[in-house]
Amino acid sequence: MMRANVIGGLGLGIAAGAAITAGAVYLYKRSGKAIATDAAVPLPASDEEPTSDSTDDPAPEKGKSEDAWSLLPLPSDDDVDGDLETNWGSTPRDLRPLFLLAEEVTGIVGAGRILSVISFGESRWRPEAHNGAGDTKLDRNERDASQNAYEAAWKRNPPLTFGAESASFGSGGLFGMLSPYFLWTGVNELRGRALLAAEHPRVIFLPRVSAFVACVYLQRLLDHYRVDDHLDIKAGWASPGYLREPPEGGRGGDGHQRVRAKFSQHAAEVGIDLDDLSTIPKRLSTKSWPGVQVVFDRLLGTVGVA
């Protein structure tokens, strides 16, 4: 079902003499630890079994708000106030308002361009990017990663309506998120309530939903980890462990350096100058962070509040 939904939509058909490549899937290597809930902010414990595992009722086919959210258009120029033209490099113009809206709703100045570079690296700006739908080693690794993530956290987190699907989903979307953690986003800040817990993991492909999760994750990185510069943001995106000191973490190690270098390379490829202080401050700040619920409401309206 998932594979058909995603991959089926990518092949737009072959007309005579014409190969249509609108939806090439960009695969990317990621650590299975991405989007992990970190030990610094303990998650609330829960002994409840996940809904989809504990009931004999047939599972619903769709999440609570998937249909409504899929009808929300991408943000447009009219939805943002800031600069859509300076230091965006080759970021597609029709995606810039989404990244900028993420910046404006979070109050994290400079976040839009950082998120664009992250999205370029993770998905080449393809919202339908999916690792886990195929049978390559990478797909299997991503499915293993989401399975491990699910098994490691389901007992302490609220149940997911589509727990089994989430566990076998892998990762994807604009920002390369790992499915179970994606659906548990906000659980710490909202005292055990996860705004996406009733959703099917394929909402990961909806750019606004994906942007919401990216905003929360960015805020968590900035607030709970040592982030020395913009390159460290991507290191934390790959694995929060890279931001911890050794021996517990991998700060300063090869992996940490490799991710940092790659992010720098991606920024150059996109044409976003990470040192342009007129658009990206030297350090991103969460001092104006309005809270998870407000970010959710402003990106997705009031539709689908769990």
Binding site: N5, V6, G8, G9, L10, L12, G13, I14, A15, A16, G17, A18, A19, I20, T21, A22, G23, D67, S70, L74, D77, D83, L84, E85, T86, G89, S90, P92, R93, D94, L95, R124, W125, R126, P127, E128, F205, L206, P207, A268, E269, V270, G271
Partner: protein
Amino acid sequence: MNNGLQILDCYDRELNAVADLAGDFDAASAADREAWEIRQWREVARALGFAQQLDAAVAKLRGRTAGSIGLSEAGVQAFLHALGDQHAEHMPAYNLDRARVRHLCLTTLRSIGAETHSLFRLDTLSTRLPERACYRPEGPQPPTRPTGPIGITTPSASGGPVDRTVARLVLGGRPPTIETLLGLAAPSDEEVFRAFRSEVAPSYFADKHPTPASGSSYPVLLSLGTFPFVHGGLLGRHAPGLRWEAGRPWSPAALAMRTMVSLWEPAANLTQDARLVVRQYQHFRVTTDVVLGDVPQWTGDGPHTIGALYRRDGLLHVHQGSAELARCTGPRGELTAFAYNYVLRRFASFFAARRAFLRTPSALPSEARAALAKNPDPCVRSLPRKAS
């Protein structure tokens, strides 16, 4: 609005629907016409990335006796401002001589286009243009940056395609050709480059050109009505006209933009032989239909696939994704949803303006009526008389 005179039916019955993409206006009302022009400018600016500069420029015009000339110039200035920024991010190595030759050629091309009623898409031999539309790569470097900083980033580093609009022509040491004997080619001891891509191959704008390109004698084919998508074989993510660098006092992109928007105004619009535009549009529609044949129609009730391409309200729509990234590749080249929509909207603007102007010919300025009277198009030549 009542279409009244269905002039576009004279060419192709579907053109009214195409024109509707740009909206209608009452040409007898200056305010209505200006509001329509602002809408066209906003569409162009949004697509090309200078919407905020345009809004600022339009805001400055408020309170003045704006008029379309003021609006056009403000729009071009906003475009130039943004272009400077884009050049900083995307431009390959700077070449002032290429900008100079392109600018001079475009100036001549505008005159040729007006004379031949073919401003929308120009087709002429380079030998009719200044310096045979060729430039010297070692041309003088600019003393100052013309419009913002100019980057030295490589095309691949900026994500854009390699500029293939020029072909190196080394003529030295070769036996004289008929062109050189007739004085049509560049001097034989010079190394020059073509200032424009010679698009003789079949494209989404036309079939194969009958005249082959040979040295500095080559067909110059520019669709200025769809600027900056000036070549029918380059309808990808990056519009080639945006890569025309500037250097004081040369600014070919600004000149081309002025030409494109002039087609929204009565005199230039009515000078154009619409049959040529219709032919180009029909070719575009037929050849793009080949590569878009399997793209489904958008239906309001879905289901819709994220990242997939749909036909929606006459345009291409990418569900929850970027139209810049959604592309098809056919024998006539790459075609992005972004370029397709942009080009179709420019056809729409031309036909919408033509329809509105012909609906009220008696309200046209004298210059426009004179242009109409000289237009060889049988669909329009008798109209002023009929209307009066």
